[in-house]
Symmetry: C2
Subunit: 431 residues, 2 copies
């Protein structure tokens, strides 16, 4: 099938074989890392084109290029002016989109590369993390109607004032999903260097299984709890606009993972995947007054510094005091700890404790909604391996436990085994 859609569409997407579709594809930095890789991407695109599909292709900068540009700016000043910073880093995608279009045309396939301002993709003027406001689709549609493959420089947009903006980390995924939504595309394929979404990190769990299908909600929970395959923002966008999303590798012809609306089949699966996150740190403040306004006094100053607090646990003690434990990104740990020490003095806290060596291990699955016993099985599994749980947080379709960082791999493997995720039909009715 040579990277085409034939096999995949029958199995996964439920679309009629041979029906011409409008497909948005996005290729990440490793997929266009050099001219050889760009050629491979072009060949993949051509295979789709030959099947009669219309294609809009979003590209990231060649691997390493964005970092090179950022580094140039940072060598000048730690805080480069953001407008010019975006002007600088947006050249990465300009280069890769031009090179891909040149490659396609050299192969005899009409194509056009469009920058953010040429589409245009209008954004807010919050440089380096702009949000898409509106995408004008006329120019893209006109080019498609002329039989052209449309290449779009990812990650970038333009303000109404004509300034170039960038969309922040994972911005090209967002470009692709937003374009798919605006164009009402039949499918949005995200090509990366992994083969899809796995039941757990394959580097830790050797028999981790690639998921064929997962719901937007599950994908969001997995992304928020450590899975790095997609940025949350693009998944949110896909969910809102019901864009069928496929994550797959540009290095193989392996079918990817379809991210779509929840269906009955998914609900039958209790746990879809295990994720972990080692990028957080824990801070505890003991013996503060257990009365209204205390949490605000603690988290107000932290939020003011732009530090994002993930989990919070507050425990009321018999003596009218409370203990509060929360997690922050490891990079903000020192600053947050310093802030809390000041606040602790004001609140006459008994003691403050911090621990940067923690990990958050999570299980995610749509089936949990109807099977509350899943959390218990998770706790039992960790206990069986003598792993102490420091914090717990839950959502409808996720349970997260904070543990000592050194047990991360053990916990992930144990949970993967306990929920029998290596088999497609894992435990369902056991619990």
């Amino acid at each position: 099938m040579n990277g085409g859609l034939k096999g995949l569409e029958k199995i996964l997407y439920g679309v009629k074989r041979g029906k011409a579709m409008l497909i948005v594809q996005k290729y990440g930095g490793t997929s266009v890392a050099n001219l050889e890789r760009i050629r491979a991407v072009a060949e993949r695109i051509v295979n789709y084109k030959k099947e009669g599909h219309d294609l809009v292709v979003v590209v990231s900068a060649m691997a390493g290029e964005t970092d090179r540009l950022i580094n140039l700016a940072k060598q000048i000043t730690e805080n480069p002016p953001l407008r010019e910073f975006d002007l600088l880093v947006s050249t990465g995608e300009q280069v890769s989109s031009a090179l891909l279009s040149i490659t396609l045309q050299s192969m005899g396939y009409p194509s056009i590369a469009l920058l953010g301002y040429q589409v245009p993709i209008y954004t807010t003027d919050l440089f380096t993390k702009a949000r898409i406001k509106e995408i004008k689709t006329e120019k893209i549609k006109e080019s498609l109607s002329k039989g052209k493959i449309v290449i779009i420089a990812g990650f970038q947009g333009v303000t109404e004032n004509g300034d170039i903006t960038t969309l922040g980390r994972g911005g090209s995924d967002t470009t692709a999903v937003a374009l798919a939504a605006a164009l009402k595309a039949d499918l949005c394929e995200i090509y990366t260097d992994v083969e899809g979404v796995f039941t757990a990190d394959p580097r830790i769990v050797t028999n981790a299984r690639k998921l064929k299908k997962i719901s937007y909600e599950e994908m969001l929970e997995m992304a928020s709890s450590g899975a790095k395959v997609l940025e949350m923002r693009s998944v949110e966008l896909a969910m809102i606009y019901k864009v069928p999303l496929v994550v797959r590798s540009s290095f193989t012809n392996s079918e990817g993972t379809l991210i779509t609306e929840e269906d009955e089949e998914m609900e039958k699966v209790l746990v879809s995947g295990i994720t972990y996150n080692r990028n957080e740190a824990r801070i505890s403040i003991y013996g503060v007054p257990d009365k209204p306004g205390v949490a605000a006094k603690i988290f107000g100053p932290i939020g003011d510094k732009g530090i994002v607090v993930d989990m919070i646990i507050q425990t009321a003690r018999p003596d009218g005091k409370a203990d509060i434990t929360f997690t922050v990104p490891k990079t903000d740990y020192k600053e947050a700890l310093k802030l809390i020490e000041e606040i602790g003095k004001q609140l006459e806290a008994e003691r403050i404790e911090g621990d940067p060596n923690i990990a958050k291990v999570s299980i995610v699955g749509a089936g949990m909604r109807t099977h509350p016993g899943v959390a218990t099985k998770m706790f039992e599994t960790l206990a069986k391996h003598s792993i102490n749980i420091m914090m717990i947080s839950t959502s409808e379709i996720k349970v997260s436990c904070v543990i000592d960082e050194k047990y991360t791999e053990l916990a992930v493997r144990a949970l993967h085994e306990a929920f029998k995720l290596e088999n497609e039909n894992s435990i369902k009715e056991e619990i």
Copy 2:
């Protein structure tokens, strides 16, 4: 003076000291080759700013960057599609303009970097060699009125359709002069890696003297006959719009050369400079019919191939035949020779001869207009050194001789000495 204008303006430009001016500066690739050089450029700009001048600064791509980008495209195909090629190579100036603006702002000086499409600089849609049609100056003026230093990405423009174009070799010089014309700037400074326009190539003539002043016409003749300091197109533009142009080095504080309208002082100087060009080749076709239409038959097919013929000499012979000799760029020599061999057969030419080892040596000076003896002195000088003259062409202010390439340095040195160009007041009334 630290690169400022104080000394220079008094001596050269005849502008009142302390008067705030609008100055367009252009920095070439070697001037912005790395972050250290960009910092030096920023410091120079700041010195002008401190003197109260308004500044519009055009930058080329960092040295080597344009070649790197061209090479990427050429690795894909020998003939990349031109629209995408321009999209690709224009990133070089985007990067350098952003980096310069970041540097200025990090030094506390408000600035804004603008791309061709942001100004906008409208051009024809002849990709890779577009011509400027119109420059909208509102955005630049608005930024200047807010006290900002305006940085413009050189070499690039935009079509009315929103496509990015580039202006061809030396395009950033053209951007600068066109901006100076559109903004009615008081001065346009071209910063490069040489200190100005010299009486001869200093690598050949050790006592070559930097000219303080030269007319547009002289500069054009020098550029067309081998001096590489400025592209002809930008000089033409400066002449048409009477933009005072200064060529100087960004590596020293040395005063440059002012290129301006011809004045009485210039006319007193017989010869301003000696140039040479080793990039041409000679082709001769002997014994063709000496009748109307023969030249067209020879030069028509050559022109059709895009080969530019420089000098042509046709000699009528007593036998009713003619000999024709002409020069073409060395890179086109083989193709032109092949064409001429075919044409020669049709015209029943006696013989065809080619010689790629020639050089064109020229003397340029506004004073020649009124002193016809200059050419004779040139011929005598070459003869004295036993240098045979193969071809001669003249204009009002230039005499060019084609000689054997191996005598190039000798001829240039001999002429430089003969016309006493090492002295500011060279021979005037001797002839």
